[in-house]
Symmetry: C2
Subunit: 270 residues, 2 copies
Amino acid sequence: MVVFAGQGDARRSMALLWRGAQSQEVRTTPGPKPGLSVDAIVDAAIAVADEEGMAALSMRAVGERLGRTAMALYTYVPGKGELVDLMYDRVLVELPTDYADAADWREGVTAWAHDCWAFYLRHPWVLQVSQARPVLGPNEYVVLEAVVRILYGTGLPAATLRRVVGTLFHFVRGIASTAAEARQAAAATGMSDDDWWFTRSPLLQEVAPDFAERFPVLTRMEREGAFRNEDESVPYLEQEARETFAAGLGVILDGIEAARRRAGLTETAG
Amino acid sequence: MVVFAGQGDARRSMALLWRGAQSQEVRTTPGPKPGLSVDAIVDAAIAVADEEGMAALSMRAVGERLGRTAMALYTYVPGKGELVDLMYDRVLVELPTDYADAADWREGVTAWAHDCWAFYLRHPWVLQVSQARPVLGPNEYVVLEAVVRILYGTGLPAATLRRVVGTLFHFVRGIASTAAEARQAAAATGMSDDDWWFTRSPLLQEVAPDFAERFPVLTRMEREGAFRNEDESVPYLEQEARETFAAGLGVILDGIEAARRRAGLTETAG
DNA sequence: CTGATATCCTTAGGGGGTAAAGAGATAGCT
DNA sequence: AGCTATCTCTTTACCCCCTAAGGATATCAG
């Protein structure tokens, strides 16, 4: 369920995203005082998404959490799409932005990636917000600025940097999605990864008795222990994601290093 | 909108996924002859998703395309989740699986990645199928087998291979998502990326006049031309995705190379 | 012809998002 | 004080979704 952005009045959306102190101005208009606020609604919506998942995020649910009907929210927010945009930008404040302590870009990127990973697992619904067109909210820029600042340490040209950022971003998002969805599946079905596999595996044999002949390379890989996880205290799929994350990040960092070497930037760092 | 898998009767799901010639057996049961078939339904559903997007995929829409009501489908398919699983596994047959012609693993991986990229852009809805727990359908295994066969050429140990496959997979999926969602946004809003940016950009200045001070590194990057695209005939966001794809793939391949070097595998290839 | 069974339909129930209209509260103005 | 414009919030309603239940119809074995 990728949730797409609101596409109504662009000016109103931007004003909401970058709403600042001007919303605190003294009211002199007639009519009852607002019982809610954009902030309150966004916070409630984030709480719903955190606790019950993106699928459970409905205008009714958010309203209920605030003791209102669904329609009351429309006084403050143009629609659900815009609300999701606001949730997205709002929750991004949680991401750390200062990596000045890192010894070099490699350490900085690693720290940033791990912070992102933890963030996504804390708010898995964020992974379901469409990345088609950027939301252009303030915190999105704060996050970008932070990453770019780290990567300027590589000395790579700006155009290359932009792509490296994209690559890192997609990688982290992709693997975090897998881990998050695995958790979600476990919660939704009430079945652990191992339980799930133990019910599925015999069915697979039943339905594909010729598996080994049809997929020799995979079978060989399995015999070589590729699909065994050491730590049995962590759910299988989550651990797999975690290890892929660590290994993949290493691969990407090495790749960046190679790009630097090709550009003749091997000596300076940090 | 990530679409989650069906989680009903696991045996029935697996039987449907691996359904083979046994479904062609002669019928001797009473009752009217089936007017539909699982294949017909899956094909119709894929057509709907291809043409109108995952959001437009409803049981009604599929039924209508087949001249039936939504409920008629439930005779053949347990529910929407399972139908999506079937669609997913079915459409994967389009992916090429033979990369024996490739000169070495690097060329093979590159070819595979590009094939995947094209595939995802042909069927963007595939990117919205949850990857939480694998569907375990036959074609998913065929695809996996193909990738692993290519990567065995690196000589890396099986456990490392598994993670490399995961990294590549997430990378391709991630960037393809961006490109696909950008297309979708353009189609949905009837507004090109450039139009979109030209309406958004002045709003951003209006709402954040102090942008340059708040985000100095991004501003510097922009002045260095990081966000300019050369080819103006291609939509901006799609081109950005394409270039990030090319650059990121290079980074990952270099990273794999580095892993091989560390394992002392520099000479042999292919 | 009878009974069993399979296909497909209609109906209905419980979710969604949100447009429209109205009730009630509150400000400034006369 | 009363009036009126305006704002908040609710009710109702419409259209969409998935799918459970039950009924009509077609087709087989006996």
